[in-house]
């Protein structure tokens, strides 16, 4: 094969489909034949049946709704706090000097380890779950936004000054619009991670949500439902990412390459 040589679109699709066919047929081969017992790994049809029963009989849609709501609420809260803070840090060096060492450190604190403390502080209601997402996202957003703003092209800033802009206008008319696409990309990336935190938050003390369902299925050794739950989270993550990307493309057309 020649490195970097493009292939036709149809070959692409065929190969991608082939993977899934191979994947499902080998999964089916080891499970349906009974090579691997169902308590270890459900077969694909079982998974679909289990998923259907979850949706039809156990109100799984409500769980999905609860999970989505938690992620969006926690993420929106994190964005609302982190974006202005990140812009302030990126634009004003004293603010950066003040906060940066702490936030660089705080970013490595695992949100999941905060769960006991969060339960102590806020109970096991929605607040606790939302705060797990919040803690897992906020520091990363602050730092990434701050880096983007701090690296704004100096020549654009200087051009604005020579056109008569004052300090306030530099912030509002240059730094913010210039970095808006990158801030939106940062948010998209972090939203992708948030889907993985929510499960941890729901493993404890939840009475709804996909993570709650997974914990329940675990008790029953229902590998079909566990796999279905994981798959659903994957799909939601993929879909939300897709729409976020489309949104960014629409809104920030000017920043795309020709």
């Amino acid at each position: 094969m020649t490195p970097l040589k493009p292939i036709r679109h149809s070959t692409r699709i065929a190969l991608g489909t082939l993977f899934f066919i191979l994947f499902f047929s080998s999964w089916g081969a080891v499970t349906v034949g009974g090579l691997v017992p169902a308590t270890f790994l459900a077969d694909p049809l079982q998974m679909l049946a289990g998923g259907w029963s979850l949706l039809a009989d156990h109100g799984f849609l409500k769980d999905i709704g609860a999970t989505v709501w938690r992620v969006l609420a926690g993420f929106a809260l994190a964005a609302a706090v982190a974006v202005p803070l990140g812009i302030a840090m990126g634009a004003y060096k004293p603010v950066e000097a003040f906060l940066e060492p702490f936030i660089s450190f705080a970013r490595y604190l695992p949100a999941s380890a905060f769960i006991p403390l969060l339960i102590l502080w806020t109970g096991i209601g929605e607040t606790q779950k939302i705060l797990v997402i919040f803690l897992g996202s906020v520091f990363n957003i602050v730092l990434m936004v701050a880096v983007a703003v701090a690296e704004t092209r100096r020549d654009l800033v200087e051009a604005a000054y020579t056109l008569g802009a004052k300090d306030g206008a530099i912030l509002a008319r240059v730094l913010i619009p210039c970095n808006a696409p990158q801030i939106a990309e940062t948010l998209r990336l972090v939203l992708g991670w948030a889907w993985t935190y929510v499960i941890v938050a729901e493993l404890i003390g939840a009475s709804s949500g996909i993570g709650y369902m997974i914990t329940n299925s675990q008790a029953l050794l229902a590998t079909d439902q566990i796999i279905f739950g994981i798959t659903i989270i994957g799909f939601i993550g993929l879909v939300s990412d897709y729409f976020f990307k489309q949104f960014n493309r629409k809104v920030f057309r000017w920043s795309l390459s020709k």
């Binding site: 654009l156 056109l163 619009p177």
Partner: protein, 263 residues
């Protein structure tokens, strides 16, 4: 002839860092720029041309001496000195028209008046029909035309250009020179124009300043005796060749000096 802009012993030394010794970019330099002057600045790479221009623009502060514009000392950037940079500095998130209006809005001009002014300049640089294009959709030459219009729309006292055509191909560059000259003749601004191109320096200027290699200073001034307007065929006249031969020798000497300085 009125003195518009005066540089009195302006010098600039960049502080050393842990890894680098201090760099003297500009030796004390004095210069009197008259109203309507079109001055071009020629010199080898790294000789301090951009540094001088940035100090005049107020984007950098001199370590010695001062810059006077219309008798007042320059203390920072302002709309009275329009700048066109070598790098494309249109705001990518604004359309052509919005870019041209940027400074007008800062001045507090009414929207209607902004539009009218922008339209006038868009016409002048021949970009009718591109008002609502984003910079990404324009070629390099078109972007620099808009940058020029944006600077001129602010009606500055002095226009500072730092190799504005440096990144353009030769043919586009030649067309842009003619455009700039025609605009200059119409508005009669005072212009300081930095370039590497000897042809360009002669073709545009009434006075050419030649910088010495780093640390820079004005080594020679050459007055160009051609009147305006100028036609491109001027470049193949013997008089032009004479200026060129003179400046080529001056510059060559400095370039070789600079090349041996380079790491």
């Amino acid at each position: 002839m009125n003195a518009k802009l005066i540089l009195q012993d302006v010098s600039r030394t960049f502080e050393g860092t842990r890894h680098h010794a201090p760099v003297t970019a500009l030796q004390p330099t004095s210069l009197v720029v008259n109203e309507n002057d079109f001055i071009t600045v020629l010199g080898p790479s790294g000789c301090g041309k951009s540094t001088m221009l940035r100090i005049i623009a107020g984007l950098d502060a001199p370590t010695g001496g001062r810059v006077m514009l219309d008798g007042r000392a320059v203390s920072g950037p302002g709309p009275d000195r329009g700048v066109v940079f070598q790098s494309y500095t249109l705001f990518p998130w604004l359309t052509v028209k919005q870019n041209i209006c940027f400074g007008l809005r800062e001045k507090g001009m009414l929207q209607a008046e902004q539009n009218e002014t922008a339209d006038r300049f868009i016409h002048e640089i021949g970009l009718r029909g591109f008002e609502n294009h984003f910079p990404k959709m324009l070629s390099g030459g078109m972007q620099q035309r808009v940058a020029l219009a944006r600077a001129l729309a602010n009606d500055p006292e002095v226009l500072l250009l730092d190799e504005p055509f440096g990144a353009l191909d030769n043919q586009t560059r030649v067309l842009m020179q003619e455009l700039l000259l025609s605009v200059w003749e119409a508005h009669r601004k005072t212009v300081i124009f930095v370039t590497h191109d000897i042809d360009e320096a002669i073709f545009m200027a009434n006075r050419v300043m030649v910088f010495s290699a780093r640390p820079g200073r004005i080594k020679k001034e050459v007055g160009i005796g051609f009147g305006y307007p100028r036609h491109y065929t001027l470049k193949t006249t013997p008089e032009f060749s004479e200026y060129k031969s003179l400046l080529t020798n001056e510059i060559r000497e400095e370039s070789i000096k600079a090349a041996t300085l380079l790491v």
